[in-house]
Symmetry: C2
Subunit: 139 residues, 2 copies
Protein backbone atom coordinates (compact mmCIF):
# COMPACT_ATOMS: atom_id res chain seq x y z
CA UNK A 1 0.00 0.00 0.00
CA UNK A 2 1.36 3.39 -0.94
CA UNK A 3 1.21 6.68 0.92
CA UNK A 4 1.48 9.83 -1.16
CA UNK A 5 2.84 13.06 0.24
CA UNK A 6 3.30 16.45 -1.36
CA UNK A 7 6.19 18.88 -1.08
CA UNK A 8 5.33 21.78 1.21
CA UNK A 9 8.42 23.65 0.10
CA UNK A 10 11.91 23.50 -1.33
CA UNK A 11 15.50 23.76 -0.09
CA UNK A 12 17.39 26.70 -1.54
CA UNK A 13 21.13 27.22 -1.25
CA UNK A 14 23.77 28.99 -3.31
CA UNK A 15 26.40 26.56 -2.05
CA UNK A 16 28.23 25.46 -5.20
CA UNK A 17 30.75 22.94 -3.86
CA UNK A 18 30.02 19.38 -2.85
CA UNK A 19 27.49 19.33 -0.04
CA UNK A 20 28.69 18.02 3.31
CA UNK A 21 27.82 14.35 3.67
CA UNK A 22 25.75 15.00 6.80
CA UNK A 23 24.11 17.90 8.61
CA UNK A 24 26.12 17.13 11.73
CA UNK A 25 29.28 18.31 9.96
CA UNK A 26 27.75 21.10 7.84
CA UNK A 27 27.77 24.86 8.20
CA UNK A 28 26.19 25.47 4.81
CA UNK A 29 23.60 28.26 4.79
CA UNK A 30 20.37 28.35 2.84
CA UNK A 31 16.64 28.59 3.07
CA UNK A 32 13.69 26.30 3.52
CA UNK A 33 11.19 28.06 1.26
CA UNK A 34 7.71 26.82 2.06
CA UNK A 35 4.69 27.51 -0.08
CA UNK A 36 3.20 30.82 1.06
CA UNK A 37 0.07 29.13 2.42
CA UNK A 38 2.18 27.43 5.13
CA UNK A 39 3.57 30.65 6.64
CA UNK A 40 1.21 30.53 9.62
CA UNK A 41 2.25 26.92 10.31
CA UNK A 42 5.71 28.26 11.28
CA UNK A 43 4.34 30.27 14.22
CA UNK A 44 6.30 29.51 17.36
CA UNK A 45 9.56 28.55 15.69
CA UNK A 46 12.29 30.88 16.97
CA UNK A 47 15.63 32.04 15.65
CA UNK A 48 18.41 30.04 17.28
CA UNK A 49 16.33 26.87 17.58
CA UNK A 50 17.13 23.63 15.82
CA UNK A 51 14.44 22.10 13.66
CA UNK A 52 14.11 18.74 11.97
CA UNK A 53 13.56 18.89 8.22
CA UNK A 54 12.14 15.85 6.44
CA UNK A 55 12.77 15.87 2.72
CA UNK A 56 12.82 13.70 -0.40
CA UNK A 57 16.08 12.30 -1.79
CA UNK A 58 14.68 13.12 -5.21
CA UNK A 59 17.89 12.44 -7.12
CA UNK A 60 18.67 9.04 -5.64
CA UNK A 61 18.57 5.91 -7.79
CA UNK A 62 15.82 3.39 -6.99
CA UNK A 63 16.51 1.11 -4.04
CA UNK A 64 17.38 -2.46 -5.01
CA UNK A 65 18.60 -5.49 -3.00
CA UNK A 66 22.14 -4.40 -3.91
CA UNK A 67 21.63 -1.45 -1.56
CA UNK A 68 20.66 -3.50 1.50
CA UNK A 69 24.25 -3.36 2.73
CA UNK A 70 26.30 -0.22 2.07
CA UNK A 71 29.64 1.21 3.12
CA UNK A 72 29.18 4.79 4.37
CA UNK A 73 31.93 7.17 3.19
CA UNK A 74 33.42 7.51 6.68
CA UNK A 75 33.36 3.78 7.52
CA UNK A 76 35.37 0.78 6.44
CA UNK A 77 32.77 -1.96 6.42
CA UNK A 78 29.40 -2.60 4.88
CA UNK A 79 26.43 -2.24 7.18
CA UNK A 80 22.65 -2.33 6.86
CA UNK A 81 21.17 0.68 5.11
CA UNK A 82 18.78 1.32 8.01
CA UNK A 83 21.79 1.81 10.32
CA UNK A 84 23.04 4.58 8.02
CA UNK A 85 21.88 7.93 6.68
CA UNK A 86 22.42 6.84 3.07
CA UNK A 87 20.28 8.66 0.49
CA UNK A 88 19.65 5.30 -1.25
CA UNK A 89 17.15 3.62 1.07
CA UNK A 90 13.83 1.72 0.84
CA UNK A 91 11.87 4.98 1.05
CA UNK A 92 14.00 7.94 -0.08
CA UNK A 93 13.13 10.20 2.85
CA UNK A 94 15.92 12.29 4.37
CA UNK A 95 16.19 13.91 7.77
CA UNK A 96 18.40 16.82 8.69
CA UNK A 97 18.63 18.94 11.79
CA UNK A 98 19.37 22.58 11.01
CA UNK A 99 19.65 25.80 12.99
CA UNK A 100 17.17 28.60 12.33
CA UNK A 101 18.85 31.95 11.64
CA UNK A 102 15.84 33.95 10.41
CA UNK A 103 12.16 33.57 9.54
CA UNK A 104 10.46 35.79 6.97
CA UNK A 105 6.95 34.80 5.98
CA UNK A 106 7.14 31.24 4.71
CA UNK A 107 10.94 31.28 4.34
CA UNK A 108 13.15 29.85 7.07
CA UNK A 109 16.84 30.70 6.80
CA UNK A 110 19.01 27.98 8.24
CA UNK A 111 22.55 26.79 8.85
CA UNK A 112 23.70 23.21 8.53
CA UNK A 113 22.26 22.09 5.20
CA UNK A 114 23.30 18.80 3.64
CA UNK A 115 20.56 18.80 1.00
CA UNK A 116 21.00 19.83 -2.61
CA UNK A 117 19.42 23.02 -3.96
CA UNK A 118 15.88 22.21 -5.10
CA UNK A 119 15.29 19.34 -2.68
CA UNK A 120 11.55 18.90 -1.92
CA UNK A 121 10.64 19.41 1.74
CA UNK A 122 7.93 17.25 3.35
CA UNK A 123 7.83 18.42 6.96
CA UNK A 124 9.40 20.55 9.68
CA UNK A 125 9.34 19.32 13.27
CA UNK A 126 10.74 20.53 16.56
CA UNK A 127 14.04 19.01 17.61
CA UNK A 128 13.43 17.09 20.80
CA UNK A 129 16.52 15.38 22.09
CA UNK A 130 15.63 13.50 25.20
CA UNK A 131 13.08 12.07 27.57
CA UNK A 132 10.79 14.74 29.00
CA UNK A 133 11.74 13.56 32.46
CA UNK A 134 15.30 14.68 31.67
CA UNK A 135 14.83 17.63 29.36
CA UNK A 136 11.84 19.19 31.05
CA UNK A 137 10.74 20.79 27.81
CA UNK A 138 9.37 19.55 24.55
CA UNK A 139 6.82 20.22 21.90
CA UNK B 1 3.79 16.94 -7.23
CA UNK B 2 3.30 13.86 -5.12
CA UNK B 3 5.83 11.42 -3.72
CA UNK B 4 4.59 7.93 -2.96
CA UNK B 5 6.20 5.74 -0.32
CA UNK B 6 5.39 2.23 0.81
CA UNK B 7 5.28 0.79 4.30
CA UNK B 8 8.36 -1.32 5.03
CA UNK B 9 6.77 -2.65 8.21
CA UNK B 10 4.29 -2.13 11.00
CA UNK B 11 4.31 -1.11 14.66
CA UNK B 12 3.06 -3.82 16.98
CA UNK B 13 2.23 -3.29 20.65
CA UNK B 14 -0.09 -4.95 23.16
CA UNK B 15 -0.40 -1.69 25.06
CA UNK B 16 -4.13 -1.25 25.64
CA UNK B 17 -4.33 2.07 27.45
CA UNK B 18 -4.04 5.48 25.86
CA UNK B 19 -0.66 5.84 24.21
CA UNK B 20 1.72 8.42 25.68
CA UNK B 21 1.45 11.68 23.76
CA UNK B 22 5.15 11.60 22.85
CA UNK B 23 8.04 9.15 22.72
CA UNK B 24 10.05 11.32 25.09
CA UNK B 25 7.67 10.45 27.91
CA UNK B 26 6.89 6.84 26.92
CA UNK B 27 8.12 3.53 28.26
CA UNK B 28 5.68 1.48 26.18
CA UNK B 29 7.18 -1.70 24.71
CA UNK B 30 6.48 -3.20 21.32
CA UNK B 31 7.97 -4.24 18.04
CA UNK B 32 8.81 -2.71 14.70
CA UNK B 33 7.97 -5.64 12.44
CA UNK B 34 9.55 -5.09 9.04
CA UNK B 35 8.75 -7.14 5.99
CA UNK B 36 11.08 -10.14 5.98
CA UNK B 37 12.94 -8.91 2.92
CA UNK B 38 14.31 -5.98 4.94
CA UNK B 39 16.02 -8.09 7.62
CA UNK B 40 19.49 -7.57 6.14
CA UNK B 41 18.93 -3.80 6.10
CA UNK B 42 18.99 -3.88 9.93
CA UNK B 43 22.60 -5.09 10.04
CA UNK B 44 24.65 -2.90 12.35
CA UNK B 45 21.82 -1.79 14.62
CA UNK B 46 22.65 -2.85 18.17
CA UNK B 47 20.62 -3.53 21.30
CA UNK B 48 20.72 -0.50 23.56
CA UNK B 49 20.91 2.00 20.71
CA UNK B 50 18.27 4.56 19.97
CA UNK B 51 16.82 4.61 16.49
CA UNK B 52 14.58 7.07 14.68
CA UNK B 53 11.36 5.57 13.32
CA UNK B 54 9.48 7.44 10.59
CA UNK B 55 5.89 6.37 10.27
CA UNK B 56 2.50 7.35 8.87
CA UNK B 57 -0.18 8.96 11.04
CA UNK B 58 -2.64 6.76 9.21
CA UNK B 59 -5.59 7.53 11.48
CA UNK B 60 -5.31 11.32 11.43
CA UNK B 61 -7.99 13.46 9.80
CA UNK B 62 -6.96 15.35 6.66
CA UNK B 63 -5.04 18.58 7.25
CA UNK B 64 -7.06 21.75 6.66
CA UNK B 65 -6.35 25.45 7.29
CA UNK B 66 -8.09 25.01 10.65
CA UNK B 67 -5.06 22.95 11.71
CA UNK B 68 -2.43 25.58 10.89
CA UNK B 69 -2.47 26.71 14.52
CA UNK B 70 -2.98 24.11 17.26
CA UNK B 71 -2.76 23.94 21.03
CA UNK B 72 -0.61 20.96 22.09
CA UNK B 73 -2.02 19.09 25.09
CA UNK B 74 0.76 20.27 27.38
CA UNK B 75 0.64 23.93 26.33
CA UNK B 76 -1.74 26.80 26.93
CA UNK B 77 -1.55 28.68 23.66
CA UNK B 78 -2.00 27.96 19.99
CA UNK B 79 1.16 27.66 17.95
CA UNK B 80 2.07 26.74 14.39
CA UNK B 81 1.69 23.05 13.60
CA UNK B 82 5.28 22.83 12.34
CA UNK B 83 6.51 23.87 15.80
CA UNK B 84 4.67 20.89 17.29
CA UNK B 85 4.63 17.10 17.00
CA UNK B 86 0.89 17.04 16.25
CA UNK B 87 -0.34 14.03 14.26
CA UNK B 88 -2.51 16.39 12.18
CA UNK B 89 0.03 18.09 9.89
CA UNK B 90 0.45 18.96 6.18
CA UNK B 91 2.05 15.58 5.51
CA UNK B 92 1.02 13.01 8.14
CA UNK B 93 4.53 11.69 8.79
CA UNK B 94 5.50 10.93 12.38
CA UNK B 95 8.90 10.62 13.99
CA UNK B 96 9.72 8.79 17.18
CA UNK B 97 12.99 7.90 18.85
CA UNK B 98 12.90 4.50 20.50
CA UNK B 99 15.38 2.26 22.28
CA UNK B 100 16.26 -1.11 20.76
CA UNK B 101 15.87 -3.99 23.22
CA UNK B 102 16.22 -6.94 20.82
CA UNK B 103 16.55 -7.77 17.14
CA UNK B 104 15.28 -11.02 15.69
CA UNK B 105 15.29 -11.29 11.92
CA UNK B 106 13.22 -8.42 10.61
CA UNK B 107 11.65 -7.65 14.01
CA UNK B 108 13.07 -4.93 16.24
CA UNK B 109 11.81 -4.91 19.82
CA UNK B 110 11.78 -1.42 21.26
CA UNK B 111 10.89 0.71 24.27
CA UNK B 112 9.36 4.16 24.07
CA UNK B 113 6.53 3.75 21.59
CA UNK B 114 3.97 6.50 21.09
CA UNK B 115 2.46 5.00 17.94
CA UNK B 116 -0.74 2.98 17.81
CA UNK B 117 -0.69 -0.74 17.06
CA UNK B 118 -0.78 -1.22 13.30
CA UNK B 119 0.96 2.04 12.40
CA UNK B 120 2.76 1.78 9.03
CA UNK B 121 6.53 2.30 9.24
CA UNK B 122 8.37 4.14 6.45
CA UNK B 123 11.98 4.23 7.61
CA UNK B 124 14.45 3.53 10.40
CA UNK B 125 17.47 5.80 10.81
CA UNK B 126 20.31 6.10 13.30
CA UNK B 127 19.81 8.64 16.06
CA UNK B 128 22.48 11.28 15.64
CA UNK B 129 22.25 13.99 18.24
CA UNK B 130 24.92 16.53 17.56
CA UNK B 131 27.60 17.98 15.36
CA UNK B 132 30.29 15.46 14.50
CA UNK B 133 32.87 17.87 15.85
CA UNK B 134 31.20 17.51 19.24
CA UNK B 135 29.92 13.95 19.24
CA UNK B 136 32.82 12.30 17.47
CA UNK B 137 30.59 9.56 16.19
CA UNK B 138 27.77 9.31 13.73
CA UNK B 139 26.39 7.21 10.96
Amino acid sequence: MGYTFKAIGTVRTDHQEAMPRHWSCSDVAGQIVLEASYARCLTGIAVGERIIVLFVFDRSPPFTPDHELQTPPHREHRTGVLSTCSPVRPNPIGLSVVEVTAIDGATVSVLGLDMLDGTPVLDIKPWVTGPARDAGEQS
